[in-house]
Amino acid sequence: MSEEHEDAPGPGTGQAEPEAGTGPTAPRQSGRRRLVAALWPPRLTRAQLIVALLLFVLGLGLAIQVRTTSDGNSTLRGARQEDLVRILTELDNRSQRLQDEKRGLENQRSQLETSSDQAAEALKQTQEKARELGVLAGTVAAQGPGITLTVKDPHGGVEADSLLDTVQELRAAGAEAIQVNNVRVVGDTYFTDGANRVLVDGHRLAQPYVFKVIGNPPDLEPALNIPGGVVQTLEKEQATADVVRSQKIVVDALRPSEQPDYARSSQ
């Protein structure tokens, strides 16, 4: 303590006293001169060394702090505990919100996928239905197992009611699509007697009458051949009837599809 005390005032007072002596009226000029004198020439005194040590520590701390602050990712290192807790809470909340959002979006996506699957399924079923109904209405061609019934009537004894009976018998036996020569037989088909000819839906039927029928052949053939059935009735009228089973019958006579004028779907 005492040494420092003696050391320190040495240069300080030695510097200050000439100033005070030469110009007490100009203390401001003396201040600048004192600064220059303190800087140059360098003096290796104990006071200088101690101050240098302290300034070294200051420079070290300054550099460390500047470096720590300028490192972008390590700004959290110098943060206080409460700040860290707050930051952590905010991050937790944020990740919670993002998780919720993610869950919602995933739900939405799965809903959209399900609904598009359902829409595709519904479309498929509707198209299936349209084809089935087209077969019934005669607007599309059909093929499948069935029979061919050929009726030859050289004497012209077969009349419209016999053919209608034939069609009814076939329907009762489960026929799904019928065509006579090139006329498709559907729900509103009618048979009439013309001049020596039978008319189907207004079309003249040429001989022989060829029925192409799609259905289960083991059902259809006995239905025609049973005693007192269609074949026997036709033979009574001097006509011949041939029934031929086939695994592939093509019913390709079509009817135009007609929009009903008054009836509308009630669904």
């Binding site: 005032p9 140059w40 360098p42």
Partner: protein, 110 residues
């Protein structure tokens, strides 16, 4: 001159060596640096006034640093660390400004 060299060497060493500060001491480093800066400006002003005393400088430097760190430490314990460190920085800043004004009057005579 040697003192100025000490400051320069400290900055260079701090930048080059990258010493690791213990994490318990880290929150107090910025406040300690500001307090030390205040002491340095005070010492500079004392040199210009012709009343510089190295013992006074050493004691004021160390006590500035310790007291500033202590205030912040106490503030952290009391839960008002952020506010207290702001207060310390404001007070030290005012002192640095007034010292800088005195230095300016000496150097530029204005």
């Amino acid at each position: 001159m040697i003192a100025v060299l000490g400051l320069v060497v400290g900055v260079v060493v701090g930048l080059v060596v990258r010493p690791v500060v213990p994490s318990g001491f880290e929150p107090y480093l910025p406040i300690a640096v500001v307090a030390a800066l205040d002491a340095v400006f005070g010492g500079l002003r004392a040199i210009l006034d012709g009343i510089f005393d190295d013992k006074v400088f050493v004691v004021s430097f160390l006590s500035n640093v310790v007291v500033a760190a202590l205030i912040v430490f106490l503030g952290d314990k009391l839960g008002v660390g952020a506010q207290l460190s702001t207060g310390v920085v404001v007070v030290l800043g005012i002192r640095i400004f007034s010292n800088a004004a005195a230095i300016r009057r000496h150097v530029f005579r204005a």
